[in-house]
Amino acid sequence: MTALLDIRGLKAEIDGRQILNGLDLTVNRGEIHAIMGPNGAGKSTLSYVLSGKPGYEITGGEVSFNGEDLLAMDPDERAAKGLFLAFQYPLEIPGVATLTFLRTALNAQRKKRGEEELSSPDVLKRVRELAKQLSIDPEMLKRPLNVGFSGGEKKRNETLQMALLEPKLCVLDETDSGLDIDALRIVADGVNRLRAADRGMIVITHYQRLLDYIVPDVVHVLSAGRIVKTGGKELALELEATGYAQYQSEAA
């Protein structure tokens, strides 16, 4: 069986600066991979390159997602194929109601996959159930997307989108940033509910704290655009104790 995600020798640059430097990573269904690393290692770049953000130039390597060439797809196509990026900084969109956005996204994906679009009441019902699990006030769904939401509300909203869209691969970019401990627990619970045998996850984080709540199967250290060490969940604890300094000098 092919891996869910297979990254081989990926090189990418932005504005002429090389950020990813021959990165290899394989994620199988049912696995949670944590990617840790110092600031500037390329963690967010990896998440953006996977989701297809414009501005990054791929200068080498390949990425196969479910056996298909991920890098050849537009961002919306990647999403419809089951890739989901939970943004580190979710964007605010004035004038677009959260519920309208959720319905448009869900039905756009379903349409692209040849599935029947869901009626507004059906979408509303599903969204309300998920909102309840994530302690999201239903009134918030009527508000413009992320506008005036607190940091915690934005991250819960990202988690709600992820749960609604049922992706095959979730990429969580610094989901713990800007969260207090209560919000972190709610978001982590939401993520853990999505653990499934046919779903993979990449959890990108600078700190070990998040991994107390979302326990990974594999931990990687990313430095200077490459995976420089791979281990079990204990690697995260080790990093917390020793810091990233040794890996930075290794890569340099």
């Binding site: 953000k53 414009p54 943004f87 004038g95 996204a105 756009a108 994906q109």
Partner: protein
């Protein structure tokens, strides 16, 4: 060498002079009306067509844009009237009282004049021009020396005159549907007016449309008197044909404690100029102006607005939004004037343009002119492209590029549409916007 030199008259200016000489005997009205028309034409002739060195017309150079004077449209015949059956389709299902103006002429037999509410009167401008008081209202306050308004006074042949008695609240909106049917070059000059008595209320919808590719010019003027405590919602939709020129002058005098809400929505016409002159004449008056222009191809749409706060304690809000694609140009000039003694004026103006292509242009020129010292006035303008970050966020959730753009454009225009009080009008204009967005694909 700064000597004022009158340039040689353009072909269009000569054409207008010939047109006026030929038409003035047959235009409606008696001798006194004729005198007003001649005066107005002289005022026009003295300045000629406005050009880019005339500040109020800085971005809409009519000397360059108007190449000739079109013949006056004939009164509509049976075929022309029949051609209007599908007019203003977007508003057809709304049960408004529809009054049809075809090729510049009010057509009572195609208009809904049944069961007129007590206290409401409707008549044709052509008839009213024959009455003794005509010279007064034809001339009154028509925007000073404005050449487009002067041309309107010179040539105005028909239109609709509506009066609502004091304290009459008209529940059913009146819809003035202006339809051009001509497929040969022609010009239409209409004058309409609405007088709203003290404490009266009404919604007036105005739509303008015509065939694509047809080379016609519309010069429409509308004068409104809003009495004390009256409430007026005016919605104007400009969706003229693709080759048309549409120049409209709106004059409103708004009394004390009245509420006036103006909405403009422009999607059609090769060249559109909507000039609005609002005077907040009494204390405690509220006037809000919301305008949106959705432009593509080589369209040019200019909204020029003057809001004159002439009495204490009045409030105005102006929101202008333009979505500009291809090589189109949107112009917004807004001036807020606060007269001496108009203390506690609260006025805010915002103009925002969204450019969808590298060749699209927006010119925004806000001005404040304040002669009182205890006021709150502000203005702002922004011009920019669609936000790529927002677009990527939507696409990362599976929304295709065109749909993501449409959603962001809708959100941008939404602020104007959401300000409409009536659900049915919000829906009709949302539909107009969606049709425009579909046209982009």
């Amino acid at each position: 060498m700064n000597a004022e030199i009158r340039p040689v008259k353009t072909a269009a200016e000569i054409g207008f002079a010939d047109l006026f000489a030929a038409a003035r005997e047959s235009l409606p009205g008696g001798g006194n009306v004729k005198a007003v028309r001649c005066d107005a034409f002289d005022r026009f002739a003295a300045q000629g067509l406005p050009h880019s060195r005339v500040e109020a017309w800085k971005y809409t150079d009519l000397r360059r844009m108007v190449r000739d004077a079109k013949p006056l449209a004939p009164r509509p015949d049976t075929a022309a009237k029949a051609a209007t059956r599908k007019a203003a389709a977007g508003f057809a299902g709304l049960d408004f009282r529809r009054l049809l103006i075809v090729d510049g002429a009010f057509v009572p037999e195609l208009s809904d004049l049944a069961d007129l509410e007590p206290g409401v009167s409707i008549r044709a401008t052509a008839d009213a021009l024959g009455l003794d008081d005509a010279p007064l209202w034809l001339e009154a306050g028509m925007a000073g020396d404005d050449p487009a308004a002067a041309l309107n006074t010179a040539f105005a042949a028909d239109g609709v005159i509506i009066a609502v008695d004091p304290n009459v609240v008209v529940a059913r909106p009146i819809h003035l549907a202006f339809v051009t049917t001509a497929d040969t070059p022609s010009a239409m000059f209409t004058r309409s007016s609405l007088a709203l008595g003290a404490g009266a209320a009404i919604t007036l919808v105005e739509t303008h449309e015509g065939p694509d590719q047809s080379d016609y010019q519309v010069n429409a003027a509308l004068r409104m008197n809003v009495g004390e405590r009256a409430r007026l919602d005016h919605v104007k939709v400009t969706s003229e044909g693709s080759a048309a020129m549409h120049i409209a002058t709106l004059l409103a005098e708004i009394g004390a404690n009245a509420t006036y809400r103006e909405f403009g929505f422009t999607t059609g016409g090769a060249v559109v100029r909507n000039q609005l002159f609002l005077k907040l004449a009494g204390e405690g008056t509220i006037a809000n102006v919301h305008q949106a222009s959705l432009l593509a191809g080589r369209q040019h749409a200019d909204t020029t607005l003057t809001v004159d706060h002439a009495a204490p304690g009045s409030q105005s809000r102006e929101v202008f939004k333009a979505v500009v694609d291809d090589e189109a140009r949107a112009v917004f000039q807004g001036r807020i004037t606060v007269q001496p003694g108009a203390q506690q004026t609260d006025a805010r103006m915002m103009a925002r343009a969204l450019l969808l292509s590298d060749e699209a242009v927006a010119n925004c020129k806000p001005e404040l002119e304040i002669f009182a010292d205890d006021v709150q006035c502000g203005h702002g303008t922004t011009t920019g492209a669609l936000d790529d970050q927002l677009k990527f966020y939507l696409m990362a959730r599976g929304i295709p590029e065109k749909e993501a753009e449409a959603l962001l454009i809708q959100a941008f225009v939404g602020e104007v549409i959401d300000a409409l009080a009536r659900d049915d009008l919000r829906e009709a204009l949302t539909q107009t916007m969606l049709n425009w967005l579909r046209g982009r694909d």
